[in-house]
């Protein structure tokens, strides 16, 4: 009996979960996200570009040149002679002298000045009655204007109101009310002033004095009569010279481009309709081209932002799919959304897209959420695009079952 009850209870709970929240059950593992933490995320902006490329080309050409072969030589000769001759005597001495250096004694000096300013104030003085009496006859109060008055030794600007009322029963009621608005105060303001000062201080320095001079001597000395015989001839030689025939060519080249941005923290909900996506060449039940509706909802976790730092908000979204076409026909990049959105920590966008080409399960849909402050989150999942065609087959028929369709994901929640 207990066993039956347990089974029943399990079934009730299971069906409740399925009915109340069917989405949660079938969502999680098909969505992928680049893990936040400290890893930077690469935003790939690689693209094809036509560029002017220098094609290096050329050839070597043999060129005749002439060079001078120098066969000059020197004849060294001379003789000894007795007589008067001069020689250079190098000599140096160090002498002291008085030099001056500047001693800078510039400094800040603390000074003050008395500053008079008006400061706001608010209090009321009633003359000739009290607050109650004034309130009773307040209807008869008339403004006189703003007056500069002295009160208890201070200067004020005050609004003057007067009640000068003659009631029917006779007599006269007169009262004044002063509403003090601002007060003249004087305070001492301190400030720093830079004082330029200094003096030249004498000190002893040393310098080198050159005392070199010619000295005349008498004796035997060598008279050099050597001379150089200049001669030579031109010799022909062959050099290889590079003739540059390089030219520019316009080529389509793949430019690797992109940048790293730090990740965000939060959660995203991806809703896709229909579950199985077909190319636009097939018609849906409405007779329109098949398409895909994609809703991306985000909710950023700003709870761990340090005090004083601005809350993170998503302000730009980039969604695209790389459709990996069959039979090695390449990758078709389909931009689904690439625009700014009103900056918000919590929001969603709805997109609708039609696909030109079918692609396998390796076709990946990428969602980038960019924050104002430069961070980003990258969510991606496999999103195959189905397509079909009909063929005539032989009279043997076919034993294989009818094809089923790729895909099936439609709701997922992921934390990043």
């Amino acid at each position: 009996m207990k066993k039956v009850l347990k089974v029943n209870l399990f079934l009730v709970i299971f069906f409740l979960i399925v009915i109340v929240s069917p989405c949660e059950l079938f969502s999680e593992n098909w969505l992928k996200v680049e893990i936040a933490e400290d890893e930077m995320i690469w935003v790939d902006n690689s693209h094809w570009e036509y560029k002017k490329i220098l094609v290096e080309d050329g050839y070597y050409k043999e060129v005749k040149r002439n060079k001078w072969i120098d066969t000059s030589y020197t004849i060294k000769q001379g003789y000894w002679k007795v007589g008067q001759y001069s020689i250079w005597v190098p000599s140096k001495s160090i002498v002291p002298y008085t030099a001056y250096r500047y001693i800078n004694t510039s400094h800040y000096e603390r000074r003050y000045r008395d500053v008079t300013i008006w400061v706001p104030t608010y209090f009321t003085v009633i003359i000739g009655t009290n607050q109650y009496g004034w309130d009773v006859y307040a209807f008869a109060a008339k403004p006189v204007g703003l007056k500069r008055v002295s009160y208890k030794g201070n200067i004020y600007w005050a609004e003057k109101w007067i009640i000068n009322y003659k009631p029917y029963r006779g007599g006269r009621i007169y009262a004044e009310k002063w509403v003090f608005r601002s007060k003249l105060i004087t305070y001492r303001e301190y400030y720093n002033v830079w004082i330029n000062s200094g003096y030249w201080q004498p000190y002893t320095a040393y310098k080198v004095v050159d005392n070199s001079h010619w000295e005349t001597k008498v004796g035997k000395y060598w008279v050099d009569t050597s001379y150089k015989v200049e001669r030579g001839y031109w010799e022909e030689y062959i050099v290889k010279e590079w003739v540059d025939t390089s030219y520019y060519e316009h080529k389509k080249i793949f430019v690797r481009d992109g940048y790293y941005v730090p990740p965000l923290h939060g959660e995203a909900v991806i809703e896709k309709s229909p579950k199985y996506i077909f190319t636009k060449w097939h018609k849906n039940t409405m007779g329109e081209e098949c398409n895909m509706e994609l809703k991306v909802t985000w909710n950023l976790d700003n709870s761990e932002i340090p005090p004083g730092e601005e809350e993170k908000k998503i302000n730009s979204i980039y969604i695209y799919e790389n459709v990996c076409r069959f039979e090695n026909n390449g990758i078709d990049k389909v931009i689904i959304y690439n625009d700014s959105v009103p900056a918000s920590a919590k929001g969603s966008i709805d997109t609708i897209i039609k696909f030109n080409y079918s692609g396998g399960e390796d076709s990946i849909l990428h969602i980038y959420l960019y924050a104002q402050s430069g961070e980003s989150a990258h969510i991606y999942f496999s999103n195959p695009i189905n397509g079909y065609r009909s063929i005539n087959i032989s009279s043997n028929g076919s034993s294989s079952n009818a094809n089923t369709w790729l895909g099936g994901n439609y709701y997922g929640k992921v934390e990043f």
Binding site: N284, C290, Y388, R389, I393, A402
Partner: protein, 160 residues
């Protein structure tokens, strides 16, 4: 009178002497001419039937192809299964009639289809047709019409 061609060949083979057999050529021609006309009629009638068979075969092939594409797109988009649409038989007739030109001397006896395995698992569709072509010359020998049969097989293939 000079006689050329096959008549000469036959006369030579039979050691035919024209001088001795004056008028017999006319008799031979009179006997052979209906045979030739009959042969010519057979060629015309059968040729016409073959041309018509080819035309119907083409219409059957297109009808079979288009019928396989007539899938329930709602089931495909939401459940990922390949199920034939309710109106696939209408598609067969529509595309057959679009690709077959009705001529006065021909008539369609029936246009049938078979689904293998089932509507829920359409491995392939067979479109079969029987037509009747009225004869013109062969009526002489009592053949009023020629029956022709065609079958075409179509299957849906997911692009992969």
């Amino acid at each position: 009178m000079q006689i050329h061609g096959w008549v000469v060949i036959i006369m030579e083979k039979l050691n035919f002497d024209a001088k001795l057999n004056k008028g017999s050529v006319l008799v031979i021609i009179a006997v052979l001419l209906p045979v030739f006309i009959l042969l010519l009629g057979m060629i015309v009638d059968i040729g016409r039937a073959l041309t018509y068979k080819e035309e119907i075969n083409k219409a059957c092939m297109i009808a079979a192809e288009e019928a396989t594409k007539s899938i329930d797109i709602e089931a495909a988009e939401n459940l990922g299964i390949n199920v034939l649409n309710e109106n696939f038989s209408y598609v067969i007739h529509e595309y057959f009639n679009k690709n077959y030109e009705d001529k006065g001397y021909c008539s369609i006896n029936y246009l049938n289809y078979d689904i293998f395995d089932s509507v829920d698992n359409p491995k392939y569709i067979v479109v079969s047709c029987e037509a009747k072509v009225e004869c013109f010359f062969l009526k002489i020998i009592g053949i009023n019409d020629i029956l022709i049969h065609n079958k075409a097989y179509g299957r849906l293939r997911r692009i992969k």
